[in-house]
């Protein structure tokens, strides 16, 4: 009998069907669930904030003719050549290895088309990616796969990755079926083995070492390019202050909703804090040091729309970064691949097994046949379109608040729909002047 047709059957809130299925899976397989994508649980997010558009007391800008700037300069603190982006929406680090070569190329094509940056990932820099990316951020990760001084000097910025939102305190894993000959060579590893990425950097420990490490990177690159420090959002206030103290030009804070190619589900869902509270913590840390807007703050983790972009910036971010949303724009989880997703036990809209290398869309795979399904030119165009839409949407909201630049958005433009969001974002609950945790009720 179809359970849906019997209203007397009651599903447990505690042991819902997914929970029951996971217990059954764990009992059968004896191993935790590893997957990609980001946190799927509900946490307070930008959806819980609203903008206060202009009215009598504020003056709006015309949406169709009055300028609303979007450009951003990153890394002017120490770098001789800061990064100048046309839009404040960057592409997050995703490795060649996790993604196919054509998918990496598409990210570069899209970013270059709209005047933003893309980022390498835990697997080194590929010539395709460098060639197609006007602004390329080169990550220095604990594994140091493919790290070399030539690529370092070819980069437009360097990002020291301390952690990522999906798994602060965790390393990485690239399962053997994604270690093709080329990936193995780039990482100096045997082919076909399960490759682990360390969770700690091999040659520095703590903020004082980090300061010297950053100085080394500057010396090697003759102080030309900006150096970012990326952290997963946990003790964000302290992490940001220590990153600034260590000399970072840019701090990247990745909330717990940030995506990953392969991590334990329990890690993705239960470690780190959401993006929403991480931003005010980071901004507070920067302001107390007198470094807000001097050291730029890039925020990532759950950016989906221009509203998310505008809200992150209103809370004090200088730019945002997207990962999962960029993959979706390329064609990940697209309905046209639904049959392929179903053939491997998933469905369009649900696919998260990026680690498996069997991606029907050809994006998160090293299988040449699957990768050939993905057209980097078309994919790049879709992502460029999406980036333009994010920008236009954010501009629309900024103009409604009377702002001639996205950077002029401010917390005063926001209210919260829930007490939780009000407390985390440090903006008033809508209809009140109450910010929980600040002042009296």
């Amino acid at each position: 009998m179809n359970p849906a047709s019997n209203p007397a059957l009651r599903e447990s809130h505690l042991f819902d069907r997914r929970t029951i299925a996971e217990i059954q899976r764990a009992a059968a397989e004896g191993i935790y669930d590893i997957r990609g994508f980001g946190a799927k649980r509900h946490v307070p997010h930008f959806d819980d904030l609203l903008f206060l558009g202009a009215s009598v007391s504020r003056y709006p800008l015309e949406g169709y003719r009055e300028r609303c700037g979007t450009e951003v300069t990153l890394g002017a603190r120490h770098a001789r050549q800061p990064i100048e982006l046309k839009i404040p929406i960057t592409i997050a680090g995703m490795s060649f290895g996790a993604l196919s070569g054509p998918a990496k190329e598409a990210l570069g094509r899209a970013a270059s088309e709209v005047g933003t940056s893309t980022t390498t990932g835990d697997g080194g820099m590929t010539p395709e990616e460098r060639g197609h990316s006007k602004h390329l951020v080169y990550q220095l990760l604990p594994s140091r796969y493919g790290m070399n001084p030539d690529d370092l000097r070819r980069a437009d910025a360097i990002e020291v990755v301390v952690g990522q939102g999906a798994k602060p305190g965790g390393g990485g894993m690239l399962l053997g079926h994604k270690i093709s000959d080329r990936v193995a060579r780039m990482r100096d590893l045997p082919m076909g083995i399960d490759q682990r990425s360390a969770c700690r950097h091999p040659d520095w420990t703590g903020p004082d070492d980090l300061e010297i490490k950053i100085q080394e990177l500057r010396e090697i690159t003759d102080w030309q390019v900006p150096i970012y420090v990326k952290v997963g959002a946990t003790r964000t206030y302290y992490d940001v202050q220590l990153a600034v103290k260590a000399g970072a030009d840019v701090v990247v804070v990745d909330g717990m909703q940030g995506g990953t190619a392969a991590t334990q589900d329990v890690f993705i869902e239960h470690v780190g804090i959401p993006t929403l509270p991480a931003i005010p913590l980071a901004v507070q840390a920067l302001k107390e040091l007198g470094m807000h807007r001097k050291v730029q703050l890039i925020v990532s983790g759950g950016i989906r729309s221009g509203a998310d972009v505008a809200k992150a910036m209103a809370l004090g971010a200088d730019a945002v970064s997207i990962g999962v949303a960029a993959l979706i724009a390329l064609g990940d989880n697209a309905p046209e691949h639904d049959e392929g997703y179903r053939a491997i036990g998933s469905a369009a809209g649900y696919y998260d097994d990026y680690q498996a290398g069997r991606d029907p869309s050809g994006i998160s795979t090293q299988d040449p046949e699957l990768a050939a399904r993905f057209d980097p030119v078309k994919g790049g165009r879709r992502l460029a379109n999406y980036l333009r839409v994010l920008t236009l949407e954010a501009q629309t909201l900024a103009r409604a608040c009377g702002k001639s630049h996205l950077h002029n958005l401010e917390p005063e433009d926001l209210v919260a729909l829930t007490i939780e969001a009000a407390a985390m974002a440090r903006v008033p609950l809508a209809g009140t002047n109450w910010i929980p945790g600040q002042g009296s009720f």
Binding site: G30, I31, L175, I193, D203, W204, I212, E216
Partner: protein, 232 residues
Amino acid sequence: MSTTTEIEVVDLSLTPLRELNQRLHDLAGADGPRSWRITNPSGAHNIACGLDADIDVVVEGHAGYYCAGMNKQARVRITGTAGQGVAENMMSGRVTVDGNASQAAGATAHGGLLHVRGDASSRCGISLKGAAIVVEGSIGHMSAFMAQTGTIVVCGDAGDALGDSMYEAHIYVRGAVAGLGADCIEKELRDVHRAELGGLLAEAGVAGVDVADFKRYGSARNLYTFKIDNTY
């Protein structure tokens, strides 16, 4: 290219580090002095990092962190001790430490030879990616952690957890090993290994050491395929 035999002397008590490194970097694919002496290093960090030229650099004294980091081609010699991460991520060339080296010596190095005449501290050759490391003294704990490829030769003893989670690097230790890390085992020393070991000792100029006295350590390869029984 100039082959001048004159030695360029830079006194780090008078010259800013930035100026020294820039002058050394400017030699990449260009003419200039091929032999350098750095005096009064006084433990400064990041001396001669990022070099990419066929030159000789002698650091007369003690160096701080990351001396000769990411080196290419150059032969860098430190007459005193070296701080953390000497020759980290070296690509080619040769780095010699006459004294002792601190933690993470030769970390992630891809190529070239790191020769430590004294001891090297913990995490020597961590995440090694192809370079050769020859230590005449002993090495500290967690050395060769996750070492991928390359060779580590230790004429003295090795600390605890040697070769933890290592891949295909070759480790040769002449003295005692305090303990092996996860998935690291002793392996048979065959002729091919004796040849490799003898060759590296000769290249480093280490005399009076018999290759037959060494034991070889490598990966049991049980961690190569992820399975839950491998969690410790």
